[in-house]
């Protein structure tokens, strides 16, 4: 028995707890609502609240800015390549570590979560000093190198959870029936873990698309969208345009997150699941 089956749950919980939870969730969600509100504000010099009037003008201005499109394109390309690398490497790692027991397993699994357990700035400056020691010039690929490194763990986490739920008897049955390892991978393993990989990939994409701390260290002259936004935050040129870009970024990251949720939720009823 767990908390899930608590008899008291029928009461719905004490009122103080409900208020605390509701206030906490409001705290997590209200700030983003303000960004959306401000994107329509016609005040362009201050963050006056409530906005004196509303306009759609800044959406048009932002649409015609080539620098924004360029940054957006770079961000999407980086995120796609990093995600692809992370899916390959993260899945391999999860497949190897899900059930195996061997000396050093703990150390290796720690290594895979290290890139998110250590502060991003450490990853960033470490990569930068390594690039300068090895005389590697900054480029698209140095950004990808950094992003893929911390995206691996996202895919790894998603994939290993699914691997653990997958019953080993499914694989044994397939092999007993004469399928070779590749056929078993193609027809048993891949359908079972596919949505977990997609979900991990979606989250990796969102993470990479949005990353700024490591990117400032691994990008040379290239400007990803977060770097563009950071420079606007520190030295604002046109605040309303930044507001519009912020709303666009909210939309672009929300979709993969919801998709990832949808796929892992469906995945809870995988065939052969142990629970």
């Amino acid at each position: 028995m767990t908390l899930l089956s608590a008899r008291r749950s029928k009461e719905g919980g004490p009122i103080g707890l409900k208020l605390g939870a509701a206030a906490g969730l409001a705290f997590l969600h209200l700030p983003l609502a303000f960004i959306i509100l401000y994107a329509f504000s016609n005040e362009d010099r201050s963050f006056e609240f409530p906005p004196p009037g509303y306009t759609l003008r800044w959406f048009g201005v932002a649409w015609n800015r080539p620098d924004i499109w360029e940054a957006l394109g770079l961000s999407i390309r980086v995120a796609l390549v990093s995600t692809a690398l992370a899916i390959m490497l993260g899945t391999l790692a999860a497949g190897a570590l899900a059930r195996a027991k061997f000396f050093g397993r703990e150390a290796i699994s720690l290594l895979f979560v290290l890139p998110i357990a250590l502060p991003g700035i450490v990853t960033g400056i470490a990569l930068r000093s390594a690039f300068s020691l090895a005389d590697i010039p900054f480029s698209f690929w140095t950004i990808v190198l950094g992003h893929a490194t911390f995206c691996i763990v996202v895919v790894y986490n998603n994939a290993i959870a699914r691997f653990r739920r997958l019953s080993p008897s499914m694989i044994e049955a397939s092999m007993d029936l004469g399928a070779d390892g590749f056929q078993t991978f193609r027809h048993i393993l891949l359908p079972a873990i596919g949505t977990a990989l997609l979900a991990g990939g979606m989250l990796a994409f969102a993470l990479s698309f949005d990353e700024v701390i490591v990117t400032t260290f691994t990008a040379g002259q290239q400007r990803t969208l977060p770097i563009w936004m950071l420079s606007e935050l520190i030295r604002p040129h046109q605040r309303p345009v930044t507001n519009v870009v912020a709303v666009a970024v909210i939309a672009i990251t929300a979709l993969p997150i919801l998709a990832a949720y949808y796929w892992t939720r469906e995945g809870e009823t995988v065939a052969g699941a142990e629970r």
């Binding site: 028995m1 767990t2 749950s9 919980g13 004490p14 707890l17 409900k18 605390g20 939870a21 206030a23 906490g24 997590l28 700030p31 983003l32 303000f34 960004i35 201050s46 963050f47 609240f49 409530p50 993260g90 391999l92 790692a93 195996a100 290796i108 290290l114 890139p115 250590l118 502060p119 991003g120 700035i121 450490v122 470490a126 990569l127 000093s129 390594a130 020691l133 893929a148 490194t149 007993d176 029936l177 004469g178 070779d180 390892g181 949005d210 990353e211 700024v212 701390i213 400032t216 977060p226 936004m229 935050l233 520190i234 930044t242 912020a246 909210i250 929300a254 997150i257 919801l258 949720y261």
Partner: protein, 314 residues
């Protein structure tokens, strides 16, 4: 092997032979699976970390400003200069405040979601925590720049409910105060709190989901008041989740240099120092030594976390 069980042996193709070789030797399969990700992280990530560590043992020539490639502990000595020690202590205080507040804000959400939310409600809670966790970091910081600005929504709200006096009193207090919310420690801690709270909710909820309800009932049956049950049963069992959440809130605060650039007072915190030392100051050894500090702090943290079983709650 498996073929012997079946009446007909499968066709002997090269692919089949590769497969058999791998399935027969678990160790080889494991090595082949692990090699690419291990090589990637081992070379690119660990290699870079060691390069950074090595740099921290070099020093910078005070006159020419060039790096002296001779092993020395001089740079680490600089960390203990009063000004630098100040920065480390200030950063630890901010990280501690953020972590404690995040635990307080996250606990009701996690507890309600774990114990009372069902079906659709539970899914809603999950999405409501995941969305802010994954949505854009910079956009979230930017939202607070809007909110905390002098003419912004927080000031307006305080005035509307007649609390601007209280806000002014808070801002005139030492340490937490400042000329306005957006240049005070209060503002900085608020933004960190907002950014990292979802990272606290998820592990705490995972830990609470595992608390057996029989234990809570036993405590009630034995005459404990709800507050006693909470203090002596629920809280100790939620501890691994709280520690796991703290790993994130602490580590993320230690390594952040963007929030304090945008919101907060002019005195630097650790992340900013690392950034300026390696960038404008060009003092990579000192930047490296400074970034070893959070690594050590997190090392201590992770060791404690491992003892409390926090990794199972991640």
């Amino acid at each position: 092997m498996t073929e012997a069980v079946l009446g007909t042996a499968p066709p002997d193709t090269p692919l089949r032979r590769v497969s058999d070789a791998l399935v027969g030797r678990r160790g080889l399969l494991l090595a082949l699976l692990l090699a690419p990700p291990l090589l990637w992280l081992g070379i690119i990530y660990l290699g870079s970390l060691f390069a950074l560590l090595a740099q921290s043992f070099f020093s910078i020539d005070e006159y020419s400003g060039t790096i002296v490639y001779e092993p020395t502990l001089k740079t680490y000595g600089e960390l203990f200069a009063p000004a630098n020690l100040d920065i480390i202590i200030r950063t630890l205080m901010v990280a501690t405040a953020v972590t404690l507040l995040a635990a307080i804000v996250a606990f009701p959400i996690a507890y309600f979601a774990a114990r009372y939310a069902r079906g659709r409600m539970k899914a809603l809670f999950y999405v409501a925590v995941m969305m802010p966790l994954w949505s854009s970091y910079l956009v979230k910081v930017y939202a607070w720049k809007l909110l905390l600005a002098k003419e912004g929504a927080v000031g307006w709200f305080m005035q509307a409910v007649g609390l601007s006096g209280a806000l002014d009193a808070w801002l005139s207090a030492p340490i937490v105060g400042g000329p306005s919310l957006s240049v005070s420690y209060t503002g900085m801690v608020l933004v960190f709190l907002y950014l990292w709270t979802p990272f606290m909710v998820l592990p705490v909820q995972a830990a609470l989901e595992r608390v057996p309800v029989t234990l809570i009932k036993a405590s009630e049956d034995l005459g404990a008041k709800p507050s006693q049950t909470f203090r002596h049963v629920i809280l100790p069992l939620a501890a691994p989740g709280l520690v796991a959440g703290s790993i994130f809130t602490f580590s993320l605060t230690l390594g952040d240099y963007i929030v304090p650039q945008i919101v907060g007072p002019s005195s630097l915190i650790l992340g900013q120092v690392v950034y300026t030392q390696q960038g404008t100051a060009g003092n990579i050894p000192l930047a490296a030594a400074f970034s070893v500090a959070p690594v050590l702090i997190m090392g201590v943290f992770l060791t404690i976390a491992k003892r409390t079983g926090a990794f199972d709650a991640l």
